[in-house]
């Protein structure tokens, strides 16, 4: 990773290298264009020939013929789909060349394998040999590829380079695959040997979900490897794409905040990743800046699926409310909802949006009650208008909120507009939508992608034009600021009890009356 350092300091060699690369690229482009031209010409020629052939031979092409093996057919009644086929089989000679058979043994070249066909008549049912039978027929059938299965490889195939972080949920290191030299991130699954229920379900879910995911904004799980002693599986490592940065440490260290165009690019990528997850019925449940990775090419990847799970529609009835790191936790979760949906992720996206603008986490509550206080003072007090169903949530019954009458209504509404004076109206509308108290009013990730905000100038910056940052994960241990962790499994959910929020707005009347607007640049 020495080159990473030089990326930072631009040198003469770099310039030379770049020029050379550019030249090579152009050369390649030229060759490609030429090839395409040739192909096109060839295709046209073929078409012409075919046309001719078709005109001359009036006879239709030979019908598709089935190639079924009837020897193992012990139920005579089933053979009906082949009756036509059987007749055909009889006069095979008359009809020209025999039908191509599907490959049924592992490899024809290795002689003895033909025997494999005997016990299981056709093991190759859909193993990739896609069109051998359908090639003769006119229809083109889709083949589904699902890969294969087999044993785990050993972690010994990787050489550790350096630790990246050690958090509440496990240990992550940068490592290099010995065979290919590829740099990866190894994440060790935390296993409690005293856990009477075996391997942790969160880890298994994370693996399952990551294996199912394939999107450019979701971190890619390459494989799962285990320690060398396979008689007892006690160390499990996830091999993930190595990504140089996480957004949190970038935000902490950058001298100037992201430009508006950069914020848009990051948000768009985040939204498209979240949209992918949600369309595949996955709730992430722990979106925060430290779980968003950014590589040196400006590409954002969502990581850490330790809290994620599959959900249906309607969402399952009893989900745990103890999800999402406190500062990014949606109000309905804080109020004890156990039936929630994709909107909780959208709330977190809203918090991340705010954080990208200010470089500071938006709602830094010290505990659940304090977090709610922060939320209500930013987004306003929930009313029957702004969040009709909130009184039905378990923890909401005992809340004492300031009175919202017509007179004081203005003073208890959202102050998002005032807090982000540099944001355009569309930007504020989006942020307001994402941070809507009522989960049903938050936009979905798909809606968000189409939002006006991203069409306005400045346009989202191209990923390739992103500035690069020195990679902490590549070189050194991170300086950690104290951020609360995602809640642990099995922890008790806090019963908020009777909490008095009526004091939140006590000072606000005076402030608002002052100038009527705020000039504070954040």
């Amino acid at each position: 990773m020495a080159s990473k350092g030089s990326r930072w300091a631009y040198q003469e060699e770099d310039a030379a290298l770049e020029a050379q690369l550019k030249k090579e690229k152009e050369e390649k482009k030229r060759q490609k264009a030429e090839k395409a031209r040739k192909l096109e010409a060839e295709r046209k020629k073929q078409q012409q020939q075919q046309q001719q052939a078709h005109d001359t031979a009036a006879a239709p092409p030979p019908p598709s013929r089935p190639a079924a093996n009837h020897d193992d057919n012990d139920d005579a009644g089933v053979s009906e789909p082949y009756r036509g086929g059987q007749r055909d089989d009889g006069n095979d000679g008359a009809h020209g060349p025999p039908v191509k058979r599907r490959r049924i043994s592992p490899d024809r070249d290795t002689a003895p394998t033909a025997a494999a066909a005997a016990p299981t008549p056709n093991p190759a049912g859909g193993v990739g040999v896609s069109d051998s039978t359908s090639s003769s027929s006119s229809s083109k059938l889709l083949r589904f590829e699902g890969g294969a299965f087999g044993r785990c490889h050993s972690v010994e195939n990787y050489d550790k380079l350096n630790d990246i972080e050690e958090g509440a949920y496990g240990w992550v290191a940068r490592a290099q695959e010995a065979a290919t030299g590829k740099v990866v991130a190894l994440k060790r699954l935390k296993i409690d040997p005293k856990d009477r229920s075996g391997l942790p379900v969160t880890g298994l879910r994370e693996i399952q979900i990551l294996k199912d995911c394939d999107h450019r904004n979701v971190v890619k799980l390459q494989e799962v490897v285990v320690g060398d002693d396979t008689s007892k599986i006690d160390s499990i490592f996830l091999v993930l794409d190595f990504v140089e940065h996480d957004l949190k440490s970038i935000l902490e260290d950058m001298p100037e905040p992201f430009l508006a165009s950069e914020v848009k690019t990051l948000l768009l990528q985040l939204a498209s990743g979240v949209a992918y997850l949600h369309t595949n019925w996955i709730l992430h449940r722990d979106l925060k800046t430290s779980n968003l990775l950014l590589n040196n090419r400006g590409q954002l990847k969502i990581a850490d699926f330790g809290m994620a799970r599959y959900v249906g529609d309607p969402p399952p009835a009893k989900l745990t409310q103890l999800v999402v790191t406190l500062w990014y936790r949606a109000p309905e979760l804080l109020l004890g909802a156990t039936r929630y949906s994709t909107a909780i992720d959208m709330w977190s996206v809203g918090c991340i949006f705010g954080e990208l603008l200010t470089r500071e986490p938006l709602l830094q509550g010290k505990n659940e009650v304090d977090e709610l206080t922060h939320i209500f003072s930013l987004c306003g007090i929930p009313t029957d208008d702004s969040w009709p169903s909130f009184r039905r949530l378990p923890n909401a019954r005992a809340l004492r909120l300031p009175h919202t009458s017509a007179a004081t209504g203005a003073a208890t509404g959202s102050v998002i507009r005032a807090k982000f004076p540099l944001l355009t109206a569309a930007g504020v509308a989006l942020l307001n939508g994402l941070l809507a108290l009522d989960p049903d009013r938050r936009p979905s990730a798909r809606d968000m992608l189409d939002h006006e905000y991203f069409r306005q100038d400045p346009k989202p910056k191209q990923e390739a034009m992103f500035p690069t940052f020195p990679s902490k994960a590549g070189q050194e241990r991170r300086r950690r600021r104290t951020t609360p962790n995602a809640p642990a499994r099995g922890q008790q959910a806090v019963d908020l009890g009777a909490v008095d929020f009526s004091g939140i707005f006590s000072g606000r009347d005076r402030e608002e009356r002052g100038g009527g607007f705020s000039l504070r640049m954040v």
Binding site: P66, A68, N69, D72, N73, D74, D75, V78, S79, P81, Y82, R102, S105, P106, T113, A115, A116, P119, T120, P121, N122, P123, A124, G125, G126, V127, T133, S137, S139, L141, L142, R143, F144, E145, G146, G147, A148, F149, G150, R151, C152, H153, R196, S197, G198, L199, V201, L204, I207, Q208, K211, D212, V224, V226, K232, I233, D234, I236, N280, P316
Partner: protein
Amino acid sequence: MSHMTNPLATPDQLYQRRSFSALPTELQDAIFFSAQCLTQAAGVLLHLPQSTTAQANVLLARYWLVEPFMSDDYEFSDMSAATLYLTAKISPTPRSPRDVTNVYTYLLSPSSPFLRPSSLPRAPNIPKTYYLSQASYQAFHARLLAAEAHILYTLSFNTHVALPHAVCITYLQALDFLAQQRKEPLAKRALAHLNTALLSPQMLYLTSQPNALAVAAIYSAARDVGAKMPECEWWEVFDVDREELGFLVVGMRSVLGWARKMRVDVPGMKDGGMLRRADVEGEMRRRGLFLGNGRAVGGEEEDPEAEMARKMDEKMAEMEARG
């Protein structure tokens, strides 16, 4: 697309299993069948949805394709319990190790009617036979967790199973079979075929993708209830070719006949209940066959090649002596 695709067995894996296993094919099939039935029975007693139990069936089949039957140290029923426990754990309906242990202890006891031939009288229910002492609970629990980890290791932690059942219903809707109430038997029958296919020692779920299984089940069901299907090659609409359809239909429909015959032919199956390692080892001894690695029968280790060489040497010596 993951709802439509499964990782499939490679031809090599199937070939290895059939050709290089320590056990004769019919014994392998008997073990496979009884273990899959055991999983199903346990799924019912644990009130698990069939979607969970069926996934456990598929995972167990995959496991045994990678890890041959006698090569690990686990009892077959332990493997069944561990796959079921594992799939339930990652599903929306987890079950505690205690519940799983209780159910398996009952099913494996002489009081259980599991796989008991109807020719035999009903087993008397003697609660003492399925009483679980604390020590045996601890032992079973430990085996369960070890087996779970071993399964995950063997399958590279890939627990993804796409079942054809939902696909099947969608296809029936597309064929307009669910519009009328009286067509319901067709759907029921098709799902029954899919569930039967889980038990087939041909491991249909490991060789075909869900769409093909669903189409084959519909085809079979339509034949059973005499429903009229489209005249054309309708299976191609669902991306299944005629050959694969034929193979699957035969495979699904032959399970019943095969299982009946097997239960008479394979000695361990006559008295009902789950096959155990000891039964298989006994049967192998009876046939004069030895299990590999010398572990099971206590004989010394000898690899097949060395054995062959030794036999040839003996033969030569014999011939030379005669000559």
